[in-house]
């Protein structure tokens, strides 16, 4: 058993491997040197694990690279894996999210992109089709770009139904119950402190959404101020920020195996956007957000770097592994659900995304 951790940064991709149940790690890289890797996924459904990377090829534009030999060789679709249809008049600006669907849907991979768009592949990420239902949504022209650009940055396909959830900055949460045809905003209860109406139907800046392990209708959202949960798939949200040192942050990660368990990494905001007091800490809930406990062991003081929305993840191990990467190029791993962390890598470029996979 090999644990693989893919680390996408502003200047390339690194792959960390552990052969001893996540106690020690060896780092392999850089791959795709000098290219921004803002999205990465490790698809373990096929005969060989496929690494997909959404990259910004320096001056030369965005594209999707794929490797079926864990980074030794890379290929890309000649005509472009993600390519806006001519009649849209749009051009791909950045790939923000690559999300393989469930094992029951082999070959299906979702991509969230800038400008605000959702894409679906049926061939393992070689080619994607624009999801027209979201692109043609009447709200789309009013979705404003956040500081990082206007994008679909979160895609959560439900393995047991045709539900697909996306989150956007800005725009908020939208859900389709028919595989991507019709979309409705589901933001009731999520605040938008940057708008005159703080509880609009849509337009929120939801930074990340995660699904609870025990209930597909229970979701957690790290918002641009506020941490929220829903028990009805987003029809209504409630604050779960009480007990956190700050309610701003970018990632939220839910355990894939333990109901009620999730992690956030709070930042002081609005202007600072650094760990409170310069102490990098992970906050964990075991009760669906009713209470939080701080994880400090192995995490640094004197750390003034933020953790980006995709720079935290969990693995499929037992106990669950938790991973956090920072904008000052450090990556921390926990093999015990966040009780203690160890340093996997330091001095990398800004970490934009981490994704873990267990390889046989």
């Amino acid at each position: 058993m090999t644990d693989l951790l893919a680390i996408g940064t502003r200047k390339g991709l690194w792959l960390a491997r552990s052969e001893d149940d996540r106690r020690t790690w060896t780092l392999d890289g850089p791959h795709l040197l000098a290219q921004e890797v803002a999205a990465v996924s490790v698809d373990t459904r096929g005969p060989a694990p496929r690494v997909l990377a959404g990259i910004q090829y320096g001056h030369w534009g965005p594209t999707v690279m794929r490797s079926d030999d864990l980074g030794r060789t890379w290929t890309e679709t000649e005509s472009g894996a993600i390519r806006f249809p001519e009649e849209t008049g749009a051009a791909l600006a950045r790939v923000w999210q690559l999300r393989p669907d469930s094992a029951d849907r082999p070959g299906v991979v979702w991509a969230g992109c800038e400008p605000h768009s959702l894409w679906r592949s049926e061939d393992g990420g070689c080619t994607f089709d624009l999801v027209r239902g979201l692109w043609e949504h009447p709200h789309r022209p009013t979705w404003e770009p956040g500081g990082g650009g206007g994008a679909v940055h979160t895609v959560l396909p439900d393995p047991a139904s045709e539900r697909v959830l996306v989150a956007m900055s800005t725009g908020g949460v939208y859900v389709s119950e028919d595989g991507g045809g019709a979309w409705t905003p589901r933001n009731r209860g999520i605040t938008a402190v940057f708008l005159p109406d703080e509880l609009p139907e849509y337009g929120q800046c939801v930074h990340k959404v995660a699904v609870d392990a025990g209930d597909p209708d229970r979701l957690y959202a790290q918002n641009h101020f506020g941490v929220f949960a829903t028990d009805d798939a987003g029809v209504s949200w409630r604050s779960i920020a009480a007990g956190l040192p700050a309610d701003f942050g970018f990632p939220v990660v839910a355990s894939p195996r333990t109901p009620g368990t999730a992690w956030v990494v709070p930042l002081v905001a609005d202007m600072e956007r650094v760990p409170p007091g310069g102490r990098l800490r992970v906050q964990r809930t075991r009760d669906g957000g009713a209470s939080w406990t701080e994880s400090a062991a192995g995490l640094p003081d004197g750390s003034w770097a933020a953790v980006m929305r995709d720079a935290a993840c969990a693995d499929e191990g037992d106990p669950t592994g938790v991973y956090v990467g920072t904008r000052d190029g450090c990556v921390y791993a926990s093999a015990d659900e966040g009780d203690t962390f160890t340093l996997v890598a330091a001095h990398l470029p800004d970490v934009l995304v981490v994704r873990a996979a267990r390889l046989p």
Binding site: Y57, G58, H59, W60, G61, S79, G80, A90
Partner: protein, 93 residues
Amino acid sequence: MTAEVVLPGVLADLAGGAKHLTVEAGGGTLGDLLDDLAARHPLLDRRIRDETGAVRRFVNVYVDGDDIRFGRGLATPVPDGAVVQVLPSVAGG
């Protein structure tokens, strides 16, 4: 009628390793020339232009030394024997 396309090293691999390409100009425009180039080297074209056909923001193209952004853009005429140079702009960090 032909023109010479000069590529930076980082793009040469997408054109079979050649930094200098001779392409049919046909007395047409830069857009025509890039369309011809795209038919033979689609990956190279994607680095220079996005899917709307626009030259990417941080890519500069010069026809006989003149920046096409300050001229007629993709409608810039490419005369016989012209040199079309592709360069990355000053950007990045």
